[in-house]
Structure formats: C-alpha cells, structure tokens
Symmetry: C2
Subunit: 462 residues, 2 copies
Amino acid sequence: MNKARDFDQSVVAELRALLGERISTSAALREHHGKDESYFPYAPPDAVVFPHSTEEVRDIVDICRRHRVPMIPYGVGTSLEGHILAINGGVSIDLSQMNAVLAVHEEDLDAVVQAGVTRKQLNEYIKHTGLFFPVDPGADATLGGMAATRASGTNAVRYGTMRENVLSLKVVLADGRVIQTSRRAKKSAAGYDLTRLFVGSEGTLGIITEVTVRLYPVQEAMSAAVCAFDTIDGCTRTVIQTIQAGVPVARCDIVCDKTIDAINKYKKTRYRVAPTVFFEFHGSQASVVEQAETVQEIARENGGMDFQWATKPEERNQLWDARHNAYFACLQIRPGARAVSTDVCVPISRLAECVHETMEDVKNYIAPVPLLGHIGDGNFHLMFLVDPARPEELELAKQFNRRLVDRALAMEGTCTGEHGVGMGKQESLAKELGEAVDVMRDIKRLFDPGNLMNPGKVVPAP
Amino acid sequence: MNKARDFDQSVVAELRALLGERISTSAALREHHGKDESYFPYAPPDAVVFPHSTEEVRDIVDICRRHRVPMIPYGVGTSLEGHILAINGGVSIDLSQMNAVLAVHEEDLDAVVQAGVTRKQLNEYIKHTGLFFPVDPGADATLGGMAATRASGTNAVRYGTMRENVLSLKVVLADGRVIQTSRRAKKSAAGYDLTRLFVGSEGTLGIITEVTVRLYPVQEAMSAAVCAFDTIDGCTRTVIQTIQAGVPVARCDIVCDKTIDAINKYKKTRYRVAPTVFFEFHGSQASVVEQAETVQEIARENGGMDFQWATKPEERNQLWDARHNAYFACLQIRPGARAVSTDVCVPISRLAECVHETMEDVKNYIAPVPLLGHIGDGNFHLMFLVDPARPEELELAKQFNRRLVDRALAMEGTCTGEHGVGMGKQESLAKELGEAVDVMRDIKRLFDPGNLMNPGKVVPAP
C-alpha cells in the first residue's frame, strides 16, 4: 500500500490540473479500487480519477502514456477474475461519474449511454417507454464494465449476451485516438467488427466511454416460475429438452439444494430444499401459457414438481432477487470465507454429463460446494468456499477448478462462459484456444505497445 | 487476360506438385473466377486452385507467401462489391470442393461445415433433423463466403446475420498458422472475439476453411403472406410499427411496384402491381395466428390490402423464390444492363424518410430504379441499371449512390447493411467511421504485412 510514495508526483500534478478534486490518492479509496469480488489479493492503484467525459478520459490516457503509467478502467468492481486489480500500480479510471443516459431511441429500440450507467439505472430511466434492457449478470454492474467483460447472465438464453446487445462503442485508444466502432443501424457489413473486438477485451485494448445498447419491448406477459426436482439430472434434462423443443424461454437458471437452502436462510424465503430451476417466459398471454404448459409437461417427465408461479412484477422481482443473491447467500454457508467461482460453459448435449461428473468430484472438497448457473446456455458455476487465512484451501479449490476446466474443454466447452479471463483464466485460455491466443497477444501489442492498458489481464506481455 | 504468361511458373509448378489436376490456368476458368455480380470490370486471377482440406489451404498459403503472390478466396462468386476480383492477379482459392458437412449436433443446435458448403446444401442435409439454418441472402452462397462478407438477408430481422450465427471458425492466416477462433459452447468470455473479427473480413485477414453455425428448430407453424399497399410509405410505416409492437416477425421484405412488375414478368406470377411487403411468421399455430392478426391490423391502418397467404412449404418456397429472383427479374427491365446495387441501412425511425427522399431523388435517373429490401432491419437496395457500354451511365449511378450513402450517414446509418465493402464502398467506409478505419488498416497490416490476402479490398494498403 506504500506504492504511492514512489509514484511519480508529476503525474498526480498533471491529473490534478486536469481534474481538480476528481483525483485521489487516499489510502481508503485506493484500497477500494484495488479489490473486486474475486479471491485475488488486493492490488491498489496509485491514484484514482473520476472523469466526466470522453475528452477527459483521452487527456488522462495522454498523461498516463507520456509517463508510462498503467491505466485500469473501473466500473463498480463486481468482476470475478481480478480484472480491476492494479497489479503494476498505476491509475484506476473510475467511470462511475460518467453516468448520463445520452439518448433513448424508442422507435429504434436502442439507447446511448456513458460507460458508467448501470443496467438498473438504465432500466429505471426507460421504464415509461415500455422497453427494457435484458442483459442481467446479477450485480448492478455498469454497462461499460459489462461490455468490457462480455457479461451475460440469466436472460442470455433468449436475448443473448453483451456480444449480441452492444450496437456500437466509443473507445479511447492507448495512443489517444477516440473512435466510434459502428453506426447505430441495426446491422452493418462496413469493415472489420471493431465493436465485437472491444466487447470482452477487459480494458486491455482501450477504454470504453460510451455504449450503444439494444432495447426490447416489454412483452404483454412475463411470468416466472420455480420448479423443484428430485435430482440435478432432472433439472438439466428438462432444460435441454425445453431448448430443443424450440420453446423461446426467457430465463432458465439452476440452483442446487445447497444453494436454495442458503437462499432460504439469507433471504428468509421458503423454497423447497431440492435442485431447482427458475424459469421465466415472455410473450403474449397466449404464448406464455403455451410455453409454460410445454415446459411443465417436460419437467414432470423428468421428476419435476408443480410450478410455483410469480406473475406480478414485484413477485417476479422478488424471485429473481432471491436467485441473484445466491452468491452472497452461499458465502454465508461458511462465514468469513471468500469464494472461488468456476464458470465453464459446454455444449448443452454434454451438460448433464459435465455437471454429473463434477458433482461426483467435488464431493471430496472440504466444504459444501453450491452449484448455480444459466443452464439454458450450458453455463454453470460452482462456489468453492475458502478460508482466506489458509492458502492451502485456495490451492485445493484451484485444483478442483483445473479439473473442471479440463473436463469442460474435453467436451468442446469453454473455461469461461461469462466471467472473463482477467488474471484467473490465462492458463485455461491457452489450453482452450492454443495458437489463437498468440494472435490475441499480437492484437494486444498492436493496440497497446507500451503495455499500459490494464496490463497483466487476458494476454499478459511475455 | 495475358497476365498468366508473366506469372511465375515456379508457383504453378509448386501448386501442381501439391494439388495435381486441381490447379488450372485455363483462360475460361480464370475468367469465371475474375467476375462476380458487381459492375466492376473483370479481373481474372493467374491461376485457380481447388483445395480439399485446411492443410492444403495452408500449404497453398505457404507457397503463395514465399512467392509474394496474392491469394483470393472464392466461394460461388455471388458477391456484389468486387470482393473476389483478382485486381493484382494471383491465385484464386476456390473452396467449392471443400463441401463436406463435418458434424451436425442436433442437441446443441449447431453444425460444423467446410467453407464450401452452401446454405441450401446444409439445409437439405439437415432436413430430417427438424432443424434449419436461417441466414438467407437470396443466392445459394457458400457458408464460408457468407461468413467472410457478414451476409444476412430476409431472415435477419428475427434470426440475426452471420455475425450472430457463426459460433466458431477455422482460419488459415497469412503466415501459415491455422487457428480455431472459439469453442463450440453457445457463449464464451474467453479472450478477444476473433470469430467476429473474421466474420466480415472479406478474405483480407485470413482464409476461412471451416464454419460452425447455429441451427434452429423448424417451428410448428411457418406462414408467409404478401400484402400490397397504396404507397411505399404505407409499407415502411407498417413494418416499423410491427417491430415496435414486439411482433417476432421472421421476415419482412419490401418490393416496390416496379420490382413486383418485373417479378411477375420473370416468374409468370400475378402479384398486384403495387408496393408490397413479403411477411413470414414462425411459431406455434396459435402464436402465428396471433402475430398475423396483429400485423394485418397494423397494415390495414396504413393502407394495406388483404394478406395473400402461403402456408404450405412449397407455396412458401415459391413465394420467397419470387422474392429472391427480384434481382434477376429487375435486370430484365433493361435487357443487357448490369446493376449497380445500393445497400444502405438506417435506424428504423429514419427509414420512411430515407426511402421517401431517395425515391424523389431517383425519379431523375435515366431508367426505372426498382427498390427492394429488408426493411425490418432498416436495410434497402436500389438497382441502378446501367449499359455496360456507356461508362457515363455508371458514373451517373455512382453519383446517385453517393448521395444515398450521404443521406443514410446523416441519419446515423451505414453505407452497407449486408453487401460488404469490397472495392465499392471504401470511400463511404471512411466517411462512415473516420479514424476507426485507420484502426482497421492497422489490423490488416498486423495480419497481412505482405498485403497478399485479397489485396485492395476493405482497407487497401495506402
């Protein structure tokens, strides 16, 4: 925490001249910006800045580049793979004050926002329009952060991830150029897809300052239901058959019995303690009834109990609030623990097998291992609860995770469905994509020859 | 056509040693590979090769690189912006014999194909599975070509373009490396999105040899309908209101009265000669009825006549066959003419205005200017028919197109919704994206420092 003393004070002076009070080197603020939701040790930046505009971000980038100081973009710090840790020190560029909704185009079903706008803020802002923004990773993350990590979550099975839902980005590059990656038209074949190149680049190729996202009409009917099953296999089979039947289910998330028990205790809910699927159906009244009937029938054949419905908006919100709190609820299974969260995603035909083998494997872990995930996409998470005071536990959890990743890769899956690479998945990424990772490294060098843009993440310099 | 004489005969010898009879320098074959559906003058390659595997493509690339010979990937030659013209000579790499379907994963809703498989071939191959591949640019293009040009077409309004429907690619790079861009999982946050970088790169960054695409369940009901309107404005208003109402329409294409007249003459159909929208609805029986009723009501309010239905598969195919033949039908408006096809795409809120102003402008063109397009996406085409013997007509058509592009750009649109940049849209691309095009050029240089991969397309070397 003493790095600030060595930090070039002329950088601070220049940033102060630019930003006035909107730069800080206070220990508390630096510490806050040096940790996320991951298990990695704190790595505070030397300074934190709060720009208000793309132009200010560009000026910050220019100052940092001249002084060869690392730059780490920061949203709200909810990432899970150490994305925002300042492992080489430098300046944390906190975009939370760039939180203006710049335009809502109701007719075009899109909105242009500054990178610091959170998904809940946007949905609140557009409530009266009858539109909504679907991507929902649980946390109330910023749209800039969600774009940077290619976030997804519960709604992705129907509405896609940030990959599908970002129309265009404004990005400040390492050399100070500011580019708009695309026009606002719904589709385009105009050159290389720079939008998608920056979506998921985790701040390593440039700093996203504005995001144009797709919006969707709120459907006539939106109903959620939970369904308990005898076994996890029953859950996965139900979801697989639902997808294959072409039911346009809007959400289908799994939680295991340990997770639902933790949710009940944390949220004072009274769900049956059993493997459970949370469903949501969107469409016309008739279509939602039809979808629900089809899925209920599939569920019954796989050992599912009756659906427990939530149709009013507040009931639906409550239900998904319970699901979204699963992470924090599960942390209470072992008070004081931190979580190592896994994130594999496999082709859905291999999902049951992958979950089954994994649950067998984790039986031997030192603590209960709750499971939760977006099984409509083949993506699930385990939470290994580790005592931060006992490094051997972290090592053990990592061993389980390595086996899980190897299992998923052998099934043509990916090491990360939605959390990103950050610091935690670099070795797995190399196993997963081989020489393609060298190509990523070439791209990193092209965009950031000085290795100053969130260094050490995704593909660190050799 | 005499370039072959100067062409390094040692290249031919090496290619022949590799490929035996599967290399040709015959004038007829070279001429065939030196033209597409665009208005650009023929530019034949020096040789044409027909690889059968990714390894052969890699070996071809190695030979061409050593001899500094341009390489132009070729599918079936249906592109519209000169993509496959060998403007610097070189070797046309015809992938049409790489036409094996490598795997169909019915449970995962995906298929892995060699780049030369065409969309109709794939759909025929998977017919028995109850799945289909939706992207449909009209022509029976190869999936490699469609990926390379980020093709879309009539179904994109519901199912997305190649951007959304390619899961992974195998690509041979200019330096001979072979990479797989992604795993087969439905979503992934594993590093930079190389898949999307190659989708739309038009053969300028590498040669796509395998494509993994998404498939969709054939819906219970699929009904098509045509609806004639008093005015083009009535068509556009209907489609805009349909999209905004959240109706998940599967297709909605417009043709103007001139186009429908040409179709009637070419296909011996008897559609009413009036601005017309071709619709298609996919879903359960109940949902399709519901969708159709909603849209019929919207259409009536905007001067639409009664729907003329096609519900049986053969009737539907006939209807879309008529629509797909619009291009060739319109060429007959002026026998012997070639077409300069425009391709702007604008935010849907500006569509009516853009179409209206454009139709006013083209009144003064020397020939009828038929309009057709995918207006659910805000994408429409005009066909300027030019006499190839009169260069001044081509110049005039280009002037109209430049005005159209400027109009679309002023409305936050793009110069190309689906045809790509090729040789025809480079100036427009620069207007559209400014400094972002410099970034594209940097990427081109990184991937292809020798400027041998389809040189002169998208972002030519300065």
